[in-house]
């Protein structure tokens, strides 16, 4: 690897993100915060949901925010740069093996996902008001889950960004991302699906389930969750698979 080139590209992405910081924050924060307000505040204060639903909801929201920030931060620019503006070509010609450019994109996406996670925790907490009981007793485990979730989001973004045609962006949202949210155990724990045994098995294919359950397992273990060892194993396997798929797709896009 060529360190100078790699960090110059990371600096470029940071520079562009800084320049668009307001738009980026709105793009990634607004939707989760609206969910938090409606489900966590309106539904609980009206008595439709119990007060302790707040602590159940928050870990799911953190996971969802990180996953969608990571995917969007990597996939959307890549779709545009490979298919429309071609602006990535200058970086493909830089004196570094092109795989490292993909790695740089993943790292930049992870950082954005982690920053988004860092923003959404206090913002949602403020919105939810009183009655949030989160436990930060396992900081290492919590950090580990955060990193694995950020990596899965970002590597997923790389895979999607190098596979989806620019005319299919709408389809990507409605066919892939919307079902991922609905069946991602964001608003309910996985155990809540026990009344629907088939669906409960099927959603295990959804990587977002492990993000939500993983964060719930470390922040709000009182609700019951998939065993942590299974979650960590699944997240590691998903990360590895998405990195491999992403690098392969990137190479196919970059070199004809």
């Amino acid at each position: 690897m060529n360190g100078k080139t790699f960090f110059a590209m990371l600096a470029r992405d940071a520079h562009v993100a800084r320049r668009n910081v307001v738009a980026l924050l709105l793009q990634t924060m607004l939707q989760p915060l609206l969910f938090v307000f409606i489900f966590g505040r309106v539904m609980t204060s009206s008595g439709l949901m119990p007060e302790n639903y707040k602590s159940m909801l928050l870990p799911g929201i953190i996971g969802m925010t990180m996953v969608f920030t990571g995917i969007q931060a990597v996939a959307m620019p890549l779709i545009a740069e490979f298919q429309f503006t071609h602006e990535i070509e200058d970086r493909l010609l830089a004196p570094m093996r092109i795989e490292w450019l993909a790695v740089e994109k993943v790292l930049a996406g992870m950082l954005q996902a982690l920053v988004a996670g860092g923003f959404v925790v206090p913002a949602s907490w403020l919105l939810l008001g009183k009655g949030v009981a989160l436990n930060f007793n396992q900081p290492l485990l919590f950090g580990g889950v955060l990193v694995l979730v950020a990596l899965f989001a970002s590597a997923g973004g790389l895979t999607l960004g190098c596979s989806v045609n620019q005319t299919q962006i709408g389809l990507m949202f409605s066919l892939l991302l919307a079902p991922m949210i609905s069946f991602g155990c964001i608003y309910y724990p996985w155990s809540a699906l026990s009344a629907f045994p088939v669906i409960q098995k099927l959603v295990l294919l959804n990587p977002l389930v492990y993000a939500s359950e993983g964060l719930r397992a470390t922040l709000a273990p009182q609700y019951g969750h998939i065993p942590l060892a299974v979650i960590m194993g699944a997240l590691l396997a998903i990360d590895a698979a998405l990195i491999a798929a992403g690098l392969r797709q990137f190479d196919r896009k970059a070199v004809s």
């Binding site: 080139t5 110059a8 520079h15 004196p95």
Partner: protein, 339 residues
Amino acid sequence: MGIAVSTKDLRKIYTSPPPLAGPAARGRMMGRKEKNKEKKKFEIVALDGVSLDISPGEIFGLLGPNGAGKSTTIGILTTRVRPTSGEARIGQFDVWREQVEAKRLIGVVQQRPNLDFALTAREILTFHGAYYGLPSAERARRSAELLEKFQLTERANDVARNFSGGMMQRLSIARAMMHDPQVLFLDEPSTGLDPQTRLLLWEIVRDYNRQGKTLLLTTHNMEEADALCHRIAIIDHGRVIASGTPAELKASIPGGYLLRLHVSRTTAELVARLEAMPDVREARENGNRIDLYSDRGGPLIGPIAAAVSESGTELYDVHISEPSLENLFLHHTGRSLRQ
């Protein structure tokens, strides 16, 4: 000083539509897509054994119609297209085995604009310099120099998204020169430029070459190849069909002058008679057109008109062109470059 560029028997067969080809080339390629009902097969031979030897410090031109394989050749030499077989070298480095070393030596101006739209003109240059490890002070100095040279200083702090086509092209070239590459590739550099900017571009190319740099450019513009290049390879359907200096190439056409006659009908007797005329080197029949390669142009028209009318045919039109690369291309392929 100076770096050589060479390819040996390069072949490239695309098995899926090439994402890098220009829109024109892609259109042509799609047209040749083979459709088999049992098995859909896509196979396009873009390069069919291209060997080039470009000397250090040379301005070398690849000339050919759209889809001839010019961009694919440049793509392979700049690590963006994987060759099916054959070898490509920048200096001592094999482009595919020693990619990073080869990339350090080259600068590339692509056919279509690919500027980083998220950045200003100055940032495009300074970040580019940073990718090549230039220290910050040098990045600032070189970017200021290049912006001045390419008449972009006034717009240096504007985002490139809003630039005109000519400005984008100038900035693309400035960017390619930012890390002072030994070899500069320019793929159709003057497409879409107004005449003034084209002259500025030519001056820049010559100036860069005077510093001992090697330049490889593609064009389908005869005039440009003739005016700029020390040597030229004419490429068509993925093969080099002729190469040499512009003067050598032009001298290789029989006669040099080309007279294209458009007649009501052609007969073997008429063609033979025209070919037998003094100063005519070769006559070629093509439908109701006859191409005459000759040593003279205008003075032949009287005798030609007489010969045509004596054979009972009508002469609709005569077009005379002086010795040119265009004629050379026509001579080798039977087609005009612009077709």
